[in-house]
Subunit: 148 residues, 2 copies
DNA sequence: GGCTGATTGCAACATTGTTGCATCTAGCTT
DNA sequence: AAGCTAGATGCAACAATGTTGCAATCAGCC
């Protein structure tokens, strides 16, 4: 929800500006991760103009507040769809349609921490992006196989 | 070992060229992930010259053969230090000194697969980079705290 | 020692990301 | 409601990273 993000910004003393609202809106509506320049193009289609530097700075801010994430395997940004209390946020990326699903699981984090601790490391943060097929794309591919 | 990588190249019918050997050598000696341009600089110091396009193409090849990996959280390449049979390869990244340790663990993969399967996804590949402090950097930081 | 397809170099270009500074404005103060 | 000001945006210039097509070269074969 857009309002939730706006409250976070206000609570941290950040101003609610047109550019910030516009980037939020684009991320809300997106079906897949968007690069800063993707976001600029989206807005241009709606007759809005934002300088790309502004978009970079807004995305930096959003990421620092956990309102957005950069999906590194894609190089694009998504809005965060989880609360902030649930530990580290993980992604499932469909390499067919590009769809993203965010999730969190403490057991996975604990497993990684335990394993790395045995190697002498002190883990603070987990980056995890599982790639494969979403339910829709899997079904489509399955039915194509039946036909072909 | 450099010889192992060379055998992989030969086995797949790729030529053993000076540029490929040089990139292999740099990756072998590196203590942290290197970007293509980092590799070019390293070589320039040794009096060698490689065009950056060549380095990009060599790294693409190495990654496709699992001789190297791109560490996305850093944007640099490391040589693969594991065999190819052990499933997906994971990284621990020290955010202090940049050191990398590669590892593999089937249980972690299975845990991720199980969790994403419940969300309807069919996972094929895991990207996992845990960041924190390596043993050395942790010890240093610990001793600084005692003093300060 | 030549042949040839694979590899590299080069030039030109595209994309992505960064910095410093001038200008503007959201939200506060009066 | 108008003014003030720190914070936000725009702009210009630049830096870094990555890509493409094609000509020149060379590794591994005969
Ligand atoms: Mn999140
Ligand atoms: Mn590996
Ligand atoms: Zn899909
Ligand atoms: Zn370290």
């Amino acid at each position: 929800m857009l309002q939730a993000a706006i409250r976070v910004l206000q609570a941290q003393g950040y101003k609610i500006t047109e550019p910030r609202k516009q980037v939020l809106e684009v991320l809300e509506g997106a079906q897949k991760p968007l690069s800063p320049y993707d976001i600029q193009s989206f807005l241009k289609q709606k007759g809005k103009y934002l300088n790309h530097v502004t978009i970079y700075r807004i995305l930096d801010l959003f990421c620092s507040l956990n309102l957005a994430h950069k999906v590194l395997s894609i190089g694009g940004f998504v809005k965060c769809s989880l609360g902030t209390a649930e530990g580290c946020h993980r992604f499932m990326v469909c390499h067919q349609c590009g769809a993203i699903q965010e999730f969190a699981d403490k057991e996975l984090c604990q497993g990684e921490d335990a394993f790395t601790r045995n190697l002498g490391f002190h883990t603070k943060y987990h980056l995890s992006e599982s790639s494969g097929l979403c339910a829709d794309c899997f079904r489509k591919q399955f039915e194509e196989q039946k036909l072909g």
